[in-house]
Symmetry: C2
Subunit: 516 residues, 2 copies
């Protein structure tokens, strides 16, 4: 057994059994080890940002980390933007980054770079595997870090000689420890119970693991018992929403609308998150979105257990059996006519099948009207937590691999889709059930709004030419076909609805170009 | 005048008049300033790796830096792989990276990251612009660093408030200083002259600015006067080659062939480079390629002037008027029949027009047979110096903008092309004279060789599935069309030759898929 085989075997033993890979010469022994271990699934990606984004998507649906295989410093660099997004989404991930062997490094060959330096700004844990005999411990530690709550980014640097040298003895590792559920202090429970008993207008902001499963249901009981509103930031890692779920009010994106939404709350109670902050700074707008006079009460910290916290809070409130208020199903008629944010949302509300997954990076077109899909059939909604564009198509890829029996709808602006468009190829290769919806407005439309928001006025022709992407227009059907994905273009709301339904009738990926 | 306007004006004053941009919200004032300054050309790129690679291509042809505009840490991260390649090619570059305003940073909004941390491993110079009143000095310093010889990577971080605040007074900057030509010491000249007078087998290895212009011509005089061989590493930033130029022997890529090539030289004299090192480490192969007993003599250091050095050497040798040996034109007949490395090289040799630019990232298909194009019409050859895949299509984009009257041939493997394929869109948008040649073997073919070289044997089915990219096959004509680039597929050598010639007949980009 060589170092690479020990590494792959350890990853599998510790529960990491998928690797999103973009290998190079220095990773050939890892590839051989991956090929030789039937318990590890290798998924080839043609760009590293697809690999890291797919690992993020995998974690969002599985709550357990995937691994990536990247080729030296530049390969890691290509994956960093989606590692940033994963980090902000609290998605655990184990990155294996190939490196020259120790004896070769001193000659500073062309692909040499400071891999630790590149990894540290966006990793919680970085280590260089120094020997094939200890790599199993390194790998186990990486997985253990990645599995923490909130999930962590662990980056393991794998020199060639560590990879290819034989180990002296098979490693003996401890079994994976079950996660310990960490509770908030009784003092904090009591404090929040007092706030709720005051009857003053109160908003819970739920995030991370509090927006789904039993945690969400129990939050719903608290809301029903106290009259507090349950809400979320504009972006949340994953929400279980739709008919039959506890609904969450979404704090708007734009600063003016967000402050208007928040101004009447006397209290904000945060759950696995912090108080609302503007996404960007603008010359004459505040960074903090709450009104002066609103109190912020941290309830569940990022590393604590929301389900347990809401259990304790329900006990403190004497209301453990209160039934939560659930979102009723809203039968949305199939829209007809022009495509606009409202008809698009209505088409989605009517078409989304039960238990589907929606990955949203639609920016101007889709996201403002997502509230209209609250009464759709139950589904998961995934958002971009780090703000680095190009997250949706890779995350959809990973989510589809994690949940092969569920259809993933990936809503993405045309500008955003271009950053990591290579995802389509992996979707075709793996036959993934992803419906990619391209909102083709031939523009970085969000930037036109932001240009004005920044006080830069209306953009002139030369500035506009850096925002419009209509020369040339991207032919999305040709783009999809080039990577083996069938596509269809729609120009009406009913056409969009039909294309959504059609896409669920066959397995495998497809692309819908929504012409705006 | 605000900070962004001062920045753009300073870049232009200091000779940086093109900006490869992928902007976001925090860069709106820079965009407005760019729009308002007709002396600065903005070139929109749909992925940051295209922007940084294009800046590299610009520098290779102009010997003067371009700027890039990137969106916060993740935008910089997406550009890092081609910054790595540019750094290794000694290409100067000024990166402007948007950042949140100071007042906003403390709230740690989603797009926050350690930009300095991300920039430092691959930049020679990093600074955060702290005030609109001093940004002109920051920008001038960045340009001055980028213009050094060898070229440097300068990264300037631009917070939103620095960008949008008004300056108190117009900055008064010193004019750009002419570069001082730095000479090697007389002692080194004398030493090298002694080595050459010994008559022992000697190889010059030329790199960077020594492989073109008067430096190359004077190196040719030294070779003619002494019988020393002139050579280059396998990869060189830019070589002026072909008929009428001083020819350079290329050290092979593969370790066995490289050591065989080098073994008979008693002396290696390095010019703006170091002794040959293997690209990767292999279990049973050496890292240094020279034979034991070969002496390495550093002649011109990376920051010294090769033309001046060869002038001094010619004086020391008493041979200033020796005529250089020049490569004769070899009229290559148009090849017919099957496409293979040899017929491909012959087609290129016959078709390449005078004064064209060849950017080579062809890996298995093209690069081993490039010696067959030595007698082609005079042209420039550009190679990947950093080894990070995905450099060719962006570098070709920048080179074509730098030299609008010359046609650029971008030779790229199908695997490599996928990393930064968004380049095609910028080529179509700007009407650039780039012929992209895709060698479509549906495989990371180089890795099959490397798998064996690594002693991992023949890859099994599961490992092979991570190397072959034939499921699905990429439809290159659809890919090109999707971004507004016309394409043609060829399956014979004569078809390839014809497509090359055809591509020179009209302006604008085109793509040739070479089906292997």
């Amino acid at each position: 057994m060589n170092g690479a085989e020990s590494l792959v075997a350890t990853l599998v033993e510790q529960g990491v059994d998928i690797c999103f890979a973009n290998p190079g010469t220095s990773e050939m022994h890892f590839l051989a080890a991956l090929g030789g271990n039937p318990k590890m699934r290798g998924v080839l990606c043609l760009f590293e940002g697809v690999a890291t984004g797919a690992a993020d998507g995998w974690y969002r649906m599985m709550d357990t980390p995937a691994s990536t295989l990247l080729h030296l410093g530049p390969g890691l660099a290509n994956g960093l933007a989606n590692i940033h997004n994963a980090k902000r989404a609290s998605s655990g991930m184990v990155n294996v980054v190939g490196e020259h062997s120790v004896s070769h490094l001193k000659y500073d060959p062309p692909l040499t770079s400071d891999i630790e330096g590149l990894a540290r700004p966006l990793s919680h844990w970085v280590r260089r595997a120094e020997s094939p005999n200890t790599i199993a411990w390194d790998a186990a530690r990486a997985v253990s870090k990645a599995r923490e709550h909130p999930g962590q980014i662990a980056t393991l640097i794998l020199p060639g000689d560590t990879s290819w040298q034989q180990i002296d003895a098979a490693p003996q590792l401890l079994p994976v420890r079950a996660e310990v559920r960490k509770a908030p202090s009784g003092e904090r429970i009591e404090h929040v119970a007092r706030v709720l008993r005051s009857g003053e207008p109160t908003l819970f902001i739920l995030a991370n693991k509090a927006t789904r499963g039993l945690a969400l249901e129990k939050a719903g009981r608290v809301a029903a018992a106290t009259g507090a509103l349950l809400g979320s930031h504009f972006f949340t890692a994953r929400i279980e929403r739709g008919a039959g779920r506890v609904p969450l009010a979404r704090i708007p994106y734009a600063v003016a609308q967000a402050t208007a939404f928040l101004k009447d709350f006397r209290h904000i109670i945060t759950v696995e998150t912090r108080e609302p902050v503007a996404f960007f700074a603008y010359p004459d707008k505040p960074s903090l979105l709450k009104t002066q006079g609103t109190f912020v009460h941290p309830f569940v910290e990022a590393n604590e257990d929301s389900e347990l916290a809401f259990d304790m809070l329900l006990q403190a409130l004497g209301a453990p059996d209160t039934a939560p208020l659930l979102q009723p199903r809203i039968e949305t008629p199939v829209p007809t006519g022009a495509l606009n944010p409202m008809s698009i949302a209505h088409a989605l509300a009517a078409a989304l099948p039960e238990d589907c997954i929606v990955v949203d990076e639609s920016l101007t077109t889709g996201r403002e009207s997502m509230s209209l899909t609250m009464g759709a059939r139950p589904h998961d909604l995934i958002n971009n937590m780090g703000g680095s564009i190009g997250y949706a198509t890779p995350v959809a890829t990973g989510a589809a691999l994690a949940c092969p029996e569920r259809r993933v709808f990936c809503m993405v602006g045309d500008g955003s889709a271009m950053y990591t468009i290579q995802s389509l190829w992996t979707q075709a290769r793996e036959g993934l059930n992803v419906t990619t919806i391209i909102f083709a407005n031939n523009s970085y439309a969000i930037l036109k709004t932001e240009y004005a928001n920044m006080g830069a006025g209306a953009p002139g022709d030369r500035a506009l030419s850096m925002i419009d992407i209509d020369k040339p227009r991207i032919d999305w059907l040709a783009m999809a076909r080039s990577m083996g994905v069938p596509g269809v273009a729609v120009e009406t709301a009913e056409g969009f609805h039909k294309a959504l339904i059609d896409s669920t009738r066959e397995t495998g990926p497809c692309l819908i170009e929504v012409r705006l």
